[in-house]
């Protein structure tokens, strides 16, 4: 295996007595698209800040592109692109100026920055917005501009902290398409998300994080295979009857999970399971058979839903 571009061993970050990150170990290979999946407060953003060499670790080992961020912060940062969770675009500058000025922060020559700025505006589908004010852009456009800005130094790794949080579905799909292109070009992507569909779309491999610890690691398909069944049967009997019916359902499928509003039956064949349940005299108000997702993996690992 070639040298990983990111390698963390027992990574810890404490704020006072609280361990925001509590012993994470993982590696990211060059060209890989790696995800950190977890609920709010799981320690994803803190981990991203340590990888981004803007936060010092409390313990453990961390190597980015073969360098230690405690010794080579600026060298590492010069090879990273960062897309933070909340946009921090420069609203006193125009769209294209944001790229020009950001490139200068890396000490890049004016001419190089100007050429890249035009290429990146095209990549972000903002060619005709170069002279617009940042505040006049839509949420999706701002995000694309932030990504373009993160690429101005031609980074080896792009860090994306919840890239599509707060965007409408259409804007999310445009963004996913852009990120997928970067992945095809061989850019290493590291992203955090609490959206399952996003992780499934973009990540080659991911870790599920909760309370600063790794709960599971693998490709999305592996995780689903390991921690869930092929299909999920969702049944609704009405909030007041769920508990009672759940007892009768015990032993159905591989596993039964009772949520406040519905019951999930994990099984290889949802239709067949539903037939058995109806034959047994239980009649759900609604039923739905769907494929298993990372949401189910998370529920299995932590006993909680991902978005509360």
């Amino acid at each position: 295996m070639p040298q990983p571009v990111i390698s963390a061993v027992d990574l810890v970050k404490r704020y006072g007595d609280v361990a925001a990150v509590d012993g994470l170990s993982f590696e990211v290979a060059a060209g890989e698209s790696f995800g950190l999946l977890g609920p709010n407060g799981a320690g994803k953003s803190t981990t991203m800040r340590m990888i981004g060499a803007v936060s010092t670790r409390t313990g453990g080992e961390l190597s980015i592109l073969g360098l230690d961020p405690d010794r080579n912060g600026p060298d590492i940062r010069s090879q990273l692109g960062v897309v933070p969770q909340a946009d921090n675009l420069d609203t006193e500058l125009r769209v294209r100026e944001n790229l020009l000025v950001y490139g200068r922060y890396f000490g890049l020559p004016r001419k190089v920055v100007a050429e890249r700025a035009d290429e990146l505006l095209a990549f972000a589908q903002l060619e005709d917005k170069g002279d617009a004010k940042v505040d006049a852009l839509s949420g999706g456009m701002k995000r694309r501009l932030t990504i373009a800005r993160g690429l101005i130094n031609d980074p080896r790794i792009l860090l994306l902290d919840e890239p599509t949080t707060g965007l409408d579905p259409q804007a999310r799909h445009i963004l996913w398409d852009r990120l997928f292109r970067l992945k095809e070009q061989g850019k290493t992507l590291v992203l955090t998300t609490h959206y399952m569909d996003e992780a499934e779309q973009l990540c080659d491999r991911l870790i599920v994080v909760d309370h600063g610890r790794i709960m599971a690691e693998g490709t999305p398909a592996e995780l689903i295979r390991r921690y869930s069944s092929r299909e999920v049967l969702e049944l609704r009997f009405g909030s007041d009857r769920n508990e009672e019916v759940a007892r009768a359902l015990e032993g159905s499928g591989d596993r039964v999970e009772v949520l406040p509003d519905r019951i999930l039956v994990y099984t290889a064949d949802g239709e067949a399971e539903l037939e058995r349940i109806v034959d047994a005299g239980l009649h759900p108000r609604t039923s739905l058979v769907r494929r298993s997702s990372l949401e189910d993996v998370f529920l299995r690992l932590t006993g909680r839903s991902l978005i509360e």
């Binding site: 420069d90 609203t91 006193e92 000025v101 922060y105």
Partner: protein, 275 residues
């Protein structure tokens, strides 16, 4: 820039990693400021230019007709020529303070501009120095315009007045440096108002409009501890030609302000954005 070198040596010796201080690229921060000023707030900037000129015209010429002359080091000078150098120091101070307090506060608390800058290869000293030099330039712009007005009105009485130019740069540098340091520790608009609360009395009472000797001894000591008094004395000595080696004390006062301000600003930016 020996003050800066000193700050690097002092703070940077043990920290080359996440908190590494200086990439030698503060001009990128100034370039950003120049573009931002050009596209958004150059009109606001111009307004600060006229304030000291209005004071000079109304008090210096209007009130000056009643006052006559004032004694500076045994030399009788017209009232307008007495207050003009003080207003010059004030112009440098105001320009530097506008940029290094309110503008910086907004960038730290709301625009999260520095967070973005510090995710690049820039260090906190690049950011601090770039912003402070920019504020200094604004102070210098006000001061140079005012100096021209003084010259035209015949209020510069000595060739020493040429040295008033580097003197106002020094004054602006000192105020910008301390202004940004203080701002970086403040958290709310209410706290920002304290700055105005200090600035106005300092402007009125620092021997700006009358000699220090009108105060009783104890009050004189307090006034002499304030930075504006040192600025006023320095510039007034130069434009009226009452020059002696004692002026170096005023210079030293501002050099210390610059060093302290830069050190604390850098420290604070690192604590805020590189934890």
């Amino acid at each position: 820039m020996s003050v800066v070198d000193h700050a690097i040596e002092h703070r940077g010796a043990g920290r080359r990693g996440v908190g590494a201080l200086y990439a030698g690229n503060s001009r990128a921060v100034m370039y950003r400021g120049w573009r931002a000023t050009r596209s958004t707030n150059w009109l606001v900037m111009l307004s600060g230019l006229f304030e000291p000129i209005f004071y000079l015209l109304s008090l210096g010429i209007g009130l000056g007709a009643l006052v006559g002359t004032v004694a500076v080091d045994g030399q009788e000078v017209p009232y307008a020529a007495f207050i003009a150098p003080a207003l010059l120091a004030v112009a440098a101070m105001n320009g530097a303070i506008y940029d290094s307090t309110w503008n910086v506060f907004f960038k730290i608390r709301f625009a999260r501009l520095y967070e973005g800058m510090l995710a690049t290869s820039l260090g906190p000293l690049d950011v601090a120095l770039g912003e402070i030099l920019l504020a200094l330039l604004r102070g210098a712009l006000y001061a140079v315009s005012f100096l021209l007005v003084m010259q035209v009105l015949g209020l510069t009485l000595s060739w020493w007045a040429l040295l008033a130019l580097p003197a106002v740069l020094l004054i602006a540098f000192g105020f910008a440096s301390v202004g940004m340091a203080i701002t970086s520790y403040l958290k709310s608009f209410q706290q920002m108002d304290w700055i105005n609360f200090v600035m106005l009395p300092m402007f009125l009472f620092s021997a700006t409009f009358y000699p220090l000797s009108v105060y009783p001894e104890a009050i004189q000591r307090i006034i002499q501890a304030l930075p504006l008094w040192h600025g006023v004395e320095l510039v007034r000595s130069l434009t009226t030609g009452a020059v002696d080696w004692g002026l170096l004390w005023h210079v030293a006062y501002f050099v210390v302000m610059i060093a302290v301000g830069l050190t604390f600003t850098t420290k604070r930016l690192r604590a805020l954005f590189l934890d």
